[in-house]
Amino acid sequence: MRVHGKFDDLGRFADPSVLILTSLADGPRHGYAIMTDVAGFSGVQMEPGTLYGALSRLERRGWVRPLPTQERRRPYEITAAGQSVLAEQLASMQQIVRVGRRRTATA
């Protein structure tokens, strides 16, 4: 659901990016914890290739940042920029949900 323009150039990583930002919105998580969390709240079974494809792009945009690593597990946290982008995206999606609900209800 590529709603907001800021996600446009993420290509096929746009949707996973929204899920990852949502997962990190309540606190830092490492790679596998993001996958299980996303599966838990959305049912989307994200594959590791997609996860890291999206994470590396989000990090480059400054929307998430890596935290100190423990063994090979590196937690990521959402940045202020990431939070505001996510908020905009969620607002756009909510608008679609609202309109869609209204139209399907009268259909």
Binding site: Y32, A33, P48, S56, P75
Partner: protein, 434 residues
């Protein structure tokens, strides 16, 4: 496709990502793959991701100057490479072990531990069973001597008699190694771990009889007076609602010099003190709070009356533990200015001069493309009274090029060991502090 084949193919495909990408993410991706049940979908997804990463301008060879022809060739090559690799694996498993990608290719020092008397230093490169530990005699820091090497995982603690090293296995289990015979280090025992949680730290009691293994959910106390037959004494549970914010961070754990108190990070903002004088019936006596970020390092003064802890936010607290059940905050100090230094930061903390001097080293690594190559290092030293009140502060800040690796500080506050950063090789830098 069998699970084993899918797992092997997945790991091999990590090696097909662009080199720069691998240096930054390969270790983490391999770790995720270890936890993930790989299937055909995982393999195809990784192949597609590797290709799209090659097409990503940030990782594309030659950048904008690349000709149309070279770009076409690269795309073809990256599309073909995973297929060739798959065929190669199918044809001969024998050759597989030689071509698989090893974490050591991009090694830096991943962990450092001093023995309690600071005569022995163990450093590790790599992360799993491929990881190599090196035991150093650093009694004379100017002339360190390599004593032994073994493949044991990240070292977290060395026993007071310097005969046993506790490492963390690939599956988050404590492993005890006998290093008393430097030529033949030997695995003594692998202790049962706790499912689904990270083993982030371990500590030996000053008499060497107890090993505290710290997980994100609990601390297990083991009687290791006979290391070959470790016996679990008790489990110290953390608060039921362990805050997810802390998940996966290295915390800090230490016994008091008399061995009666165990201090450990137990939540994202707190440190707990247990009375472990009788380990089998250990009880929590106090909780130290005040941090807004996890505690990264803590240290007892030699007489055990003061405890200093520093959080990932750079805030340092000194507590007076003369009565451990009623700790009082003696000082709150800043190691680094500003906030948000939470990111990519390494800490070392220790008392010296009989507890009258407290030294803290903080390496903050700036974010962005240069990440992991350089750091701002801040050395802070405070003179303290016996009650923990600060009488004098010295701060030295400088730039260091060999940053990004772990830090360890000796008890005299004079020698700083700094591991090489990722891709920095198996190098430990020993620094004499002013």
């Amino acid at each position: 496709m069998t699970r084993t084949l899918a797992a092997r193919l997945s790991r091999g495909l990590v090696g097909c990502y662009p080199r720069r990408w691998r240096q930054r993410y390969a270790d983490e991706l391999l770790d995720v793959l270890d936890q993930h049940r790989a299937g055909a979908r995982t393999v195809l997804n990784l192949a597609a991701s590797a290709v799209s990463t090659h097409l990503d301008p940030a990782y594309r060879l030659g950048g904008l100057a690349m000709t149309r022809f070279r770009r076409g060739a690269l795309i073809s090559a990256t599309l073909v490479a995973p297929v060739v690799l798959m065929l190669g694996v199918l044809i001969g498993f024998g050759a597989w072990n030689d071509t698989s990608w090893h974490p050591g290719d991009a090694a830096g020092v991943t962990a450092l531990a001093f023995s309690p008397d600071r005569r022995i230093l163990v450093s590790a490169i790599g992360f799993d069973e491929d990881g190599t530990d090196t035991v150093w005699n650093v009694a004379d820091p100017a002339h360190p001597k390599q004593l032994a090497q073994f493949e044991g995982g990240a070292p977290t603690a060395i026993s007071p008699d310097r005969r046993t090293v506790a490492t963390v296995s690939f599956h988050d289990q404590p492993v005890l190694w006998n290093v008393s015979s430097p030529q033949r280090p030997a695995k003594i025992a692998t202790l049962p771990g706790v499912p689904d949680v990270v083993l982030w730290g371990q500590a030996f009691s000053p008499d060497g009889r107890i090993l505290a293994a710290a997980y994100t959910s609990q601390i297990d106390l083991w009687n290791v007076s006979s290391p070959a037959r470790p016996r679990r004494l008790t489990t110290l549970a953390f608060d039921a609602a362990a805050p997810p914010h802390w998940y996966g961070f290295p915390g800090a754990i230490a016994f008091s010099p008399d061995g009666h108190i165990l201090a450990s990070t137990t939540s994202h903002d707190g440190v707990s003190l247990w009375n472990v004088a009788n380990p089998a019936s250990a009880v929590r006596v106090a909780t130290l709070s005040g941090h807004t970020n996890p505690v990264a390092a803590l240290a007892f003064s030699p007489d055990g009356h003061l405890l200093a802890d520093v959080g990932y936010d750079g805030r340092l607290d000194v507590f007076n533990l003369t009565d451990p059940a009623h700790p009082s905050r003696a000082a709150t100090l800043r190691t680094i200015s500003g906030s948000g230094a939470y990111y990519n930061t390494a800490y070392a903390l220790d008392f010296s001069q009989g507890g009258r001097t407290l030294t803290a080293i903080v390496d903050t690594i700036p974010s962005g493309p240069q990440s992991g190559t350089a750091a701002d290092e801040t050395i802070s030293r405070w003179s303290l009274t016996a009650e923990g009140t600060v009488t004098h502060t010295t701060t030295i800040s400088h730039y260091t090029a060999s940053a990004g690796g772990p830090l360890a500080l000796d008890a005299a506050g004079r020698t700083l060991a700094r591991g090489a950063p990722p891709q920095g090789g198996d190098i430990v830098y020993l620094w004499m502090l002013p």
